[in-house]
């Protein structure tokens, strides 16, 4: 994959993320807040974007979303082969639920 292709994939991922998030927020706000890990204010902002604002935001060539597991020990534990899939799935879900949501600073 060359650089141009990567940048275009990033824009695609950004747009897909924004469109999906908007749909989730409009359908069921509390569920979307939990699934996306964002605060109510961030959710309201995302869903209030106009189409052209959404396109502009998505056109960024850096990723809009961030990896939610930022601890290498935990990540190692969750992806460890020895664990049954129930355990790693449950563990990841519990850890994500224990994290604070993304908020405006």
């Amino acid at each position: 994959m060359n650089t141009d292709e990567i940048l275009s994939e990033i824009r695609d991922a950004n747009l897909q993320y924004l469109l999906l998030a908007q749909q989730m927020i409009r359908q069921d706000l509390p569920t979307a807040i939990y699934r996306l890990g964002i605060s109510e204010k961030v959710a309201q902002l995302i869903s209030s974007l106009t189409t052209s604002q959404t396109m502009k935001l998505a056109a960024n060539v850096t990723m809009l979303t961030r990896f939610r597991f930022d601890d290498s020990t935990i990540l190692g534990m969750l992806t460890h082969d020895n664990k049954e899939s129930f355990q790693s799935k449950a563990h990841a879900a519990i850890l994500l639920a224990s994290q604070p949501v993304e908020e405006f600073a």
Partner: protein, 188 residues
């Protein structure tokens, strides 16, 4: 609430709520405490929806269940979702429990034909134990996740997923399934 003054609209909301709760497996005690419908009407509604009378008898009144290995994982996930919704959404009361329970079921769906490990009634009981501080949350010192724990047992807490007990999840059913799998592999 004065039942004579109850508006038809309120009653219809209560019935809708009761239907949802019954469909998710709520016991009568939960229904009585969360709706203002009479016991008779709830029993009738239960029969219409499920085709059988609601189970009789007391709810299990012990915190022990929530502390055993597998139930603790399921309860802790439910509690985590509950707390996140409580902090970040306008939901409260039974609506909050309902939403958290549905999201829990999505994350750890029961196997086909099986009941969920954590029933709605148990989830509701858990929140009562939490509010009376008969159970509390403890932060695992290894993974920093939050888990249901006994009061006074929260220091230096290590969760059942970081330190999996050797017999964890080894119910007779799991052992049987593993053996059946081995046999089918060796015969093929």
């Amino acid at each position: 609430m004065n039942k004579k003054n109850k508006s038809i609209l309120d009653e219809s909301k209560d019935i809708q709520l009761a239907i949802e709760l019954i469909q998710l497996g709520a016991r009568l005690q939960l229904l009585e405490s969360e709706t203002s419908l009479s016991r008779d009407r709830l029993v009738k509604l239960y029969k219409e929806l499920r085709g059988v009378s609601p189970p009789k008898g007391m709810l299990p009144f012990s915190t022990d269940w929530f502390l055993t290995w597998q139930p603790n994982i399921h309860s802790s996930l439910f509690l985590g979702i509950y707390k996140q919704l409580e902090q970040n959404t306008p939901l409260e009361g039974i609506q909050l429990i309902l939403k958290a329970y549905k999201l829990y079921l999505e994350q750890l769906p029961p196997e086909e034909g099986e009941e969920p490990v954590l029933s709605l009634t148990r989830a509701w009981t858990l929140m009562r134990f939490m509010s009376s501080e008969m159970l509390v949350t403890a932060k695992c010192k290894t993974c920093k996740g939050e888990f249901v724990a006994q009061p006074l047992m929260t220091r230096q807490y290590i969760c059942g997923l970081c330190d999996v007990p050797s017999r964890a999840g080894k119910t007779q059913k799991v052992i049987d399934a593993n053996q059946a799998e081995k046999q089918s592999k060796s015969s093929s």
